[in-house]
């Protein structure tokens, strides 16, 4: 399927902080293009008289009482961290 003319893959990749190879760009452009075509199809549905909604189910006020429960141990919380120091996650410096 052809890519969308208004799909700027470099822009999207930049927002996502992803550095893509040319090959990856071609692949993702194709995949995202498919998604946009699907959305385009949805757009063709006649929604005259349908109120805009934030959710498909007409359900409101789903909440829980403010009672604090247990969380994860530091050990468990940091298990996926690629690098850690002083019980914090170490990431590349994000300010200059």
């Amino acid at each position: 399927m052809s890519t969308q003319p208004d799909l700027n893959l470099d822009y999207v990749a930049n927002l996502a902080r992803l550095a893509l190879t040319e090959e990856e760009k071609r692949e993702f452009a194709r995949q995202l293009g498919d998604i946009l075509h699907y959305v385009e199809k949805l757009r063709q549905v006649d929604v005259t008289g349908v109120e805009p909604m934030a959710h498909a189910s007409p359900v409101f006020n789903v909440w829980a009482a403010d009672v604090a429960g247990p969380g994860l141990s530091v050990e468990a919380a940091l298990r996926n961290a690629p690098a850690r120091r002083d019980d914090t996650i170490v990431v590349p410096k994000v300010v200059e």
């Binding site: 959710h55 969380g71 940091l78 170490v90 300010v95």
Partner: protein, 480 residues
């Protein structure tokens, strides 16, 4: 050309809840790093958010206090951005349907003197919405450290209209907003702990112009005084640029309160594009009249209304009300004493001066005081009915602050009752007259003030127990 400043504030306030906004792990400050997380906070696959009912109550209450209209329905949106402070790569927030719209913050500007109430005005608000706080980043020389304890804490963002005209107005805005929220139990608003944070949008324009000038966003204003200083500094900077014929660049600047300087934060080439869309994991919230009525019933009297009432109903001077009213506990304490029949002005003086001084010296919070409103009421009535003099009352105050013993009991135990026994008084007064012939002669020659050393001698001889009015009468009679 004459310029005027236009300032709008964005204030972030953490809500005082036990658990986080969208999950039930504890919320808190000062805990060891990464000990307040769970799968929702860390955005582990499959974790789903659930709203915190108390946070909704709190923000609606804040909206009611500030006179906002509460949206009958509101929803949740994802604000998408990639940054390590947000593990989900989006922040849950409210975009086009905030829960509170409009409203205003009543402010008081500095008066012509410390003891005169300043001008009041209302600064309109645009909106208040609910979102989640993000993690804390600590930037080092080589890398950045991430602590997710703060991530997911309920956070409301209060946005003012660009309607403030000076640094003083911004200071007054934050002072009043903070009081309203603390009194309402909505947040502790401790800026040092990051519970209240402020960004300011500042621009200048020729006086009379209706279009806003190019705005500069000032960040990192972490105390109310720094907000005032930072805004004053930025207005001066913009005026200097304009005076030199330059143009203001739209940018974000970081204000350093310690050095009183600001610097431009490197602007990213790309404008922010958060690509908001409704969050599919959270259901919208519908607010009905019953819910609003229940919350309305919990709202305390607004601090400025209370201050005006204290001045009108109790005839208290402005200065005393400015001490009592900002501290809700102290103002409640005063009203309790007044309800027990204490003369309001005397009670207010004891509380605003002596009680606060003793509490500060003992490093005690009001709640831990052994001295209750009934003690104050009792002491005031002992002075009013002439049982003790006001100087003896000071002594009784200190004693009852330390022991919590009722004032009348202290007066009896220490024999401090003012003497009105004419025989005893006459003895003291006669002795004082005999000992001060010079004063007597001067008084007889028409010098009213000459009576003072005689009265002083009597007070000294009686250890303060002689009734001053009776002493005055007797001295005149005996000399005459």
């Amino acid at each position: 050309m004459k310029f005027e400043a236009v300032i709008g504030l964005e204030v972030h306030v953490q809500l005082a809840t036990a658990s986080k906004m969208f999950t039930r792990v504890a919320a808190g400050y000062g805990e060891p790093a990464n000990t307040l997380t769970d799968p929702v906070v860390l955005a582990l696959p499959g974790a789903l958010p659930v709203l915190n009912k108390a946070a909704l109550d709190q923000i609606i209450k804040a909206g009611l206090i500030l006179g906002c209209s509460i949206a009958p329905v509101c929803k949740w949106d994802r604000k998408n951005y990639f940054y390590p402070d947000s593990p989900k790569n989006y922040q849950l927030s409210q975009y086009d349907q905030p829960i509170c719209l409009g409203g205003a913050v009543e402010i008081e500007l500095p008066g012509p003197a410390r003891n005169v109430m300043g001008e009041h005005k209302k600064i309109p608000l645009t909106r208040i919405h609910l979102e989640e706080d993000v993690g804390k980043l600590t930037h080092g020389a080589q890398d950045t450290l991430v602590d997710y304890n703060r991530a997911g804490t309920p956070l409301m963002e209060i946005v003012s209209e660009p309607a403030l005209a000076s640094a003083d107005e911004a200071y007054a805005f934050l002072t009043s907003l903070r009081l309203a929220l603390v009194h309402g139990g909505i947040s502790d608003c401790d800026m040092e702990k990051g519970q209240m944070r402020c960004d300011a949008n500042i621009s200048i324009r020729p006086v009379g112009a209706t279009r806003l000038g190019t705005k500069v966003e000032l960040k990192n204003l972490n105390s109310i005084s720094f907000v005032r200083d930072g805004i004053a500094h930025e207005i001066r900077r913009q005026l200097a640029v304009a005076a030199a014929g330059g143009t203001i660049t739209q940018e974000t600047r970081d204000y350093d309160g310690q050095t009183g300087t600001s610097q431009s934060l490197r602007s990213k080439e790309m404008a922010h594009d958060y690509r908001y869309f409704p969050d599919p994991d959270l259901m919208p919230v519908r607010v009905d009249e019953a819910w609003l009525a229940a919350l309305r019933a919990t709202i305390p009297e607004h601090h400025f209304d209370r201050q005006r009432r204290f001045m009108a109903d109790y005839q208290l001077p402005y200065t005393i009300t400015s001490v009592l009213v900002p501290d809700r506990g102290l103002a409640d304490y005063f009203e309790a004493a007044a309800r027990l029949g204490a003369a309001p002005q005397a009670a207010a003086n004891w509380i605003a001066n002596d009680l606060r001084r003793e509490l500060a010296a003992a490093k005690l919070p009001l709640a831990a005081s052994k001295l209750h409103p009934a003690h104050i009421a009792g002491l005031v009535s002992l002075v009013e009915s002439g049982v003790i003099s006001s100087s003896i009352a000071k002594e009784v105050f200190v004693a009852m602050f330390q022991s919590g013993e009722p004032p009348a009991a202290i007066v009896d135990r220490l024999g401090l009752r003012q003497s009105t026994d004419t025989g005893e008084l006459e003895k003291w007064v006669s002795a004082a007259i005999a000992a001060n012939p010079k004063a007597v002669a001067e008084f007889k020659a028409g010098n009213e003030k000459a009576l003072n050393p005689i009265k002083g001698a009597v007070m000294k001889a009686s250890a303060g127990k002689a009734n001053p009015q009776r002493v005055d009468e007797l001295a005149r009679k005996l000399i005459g």
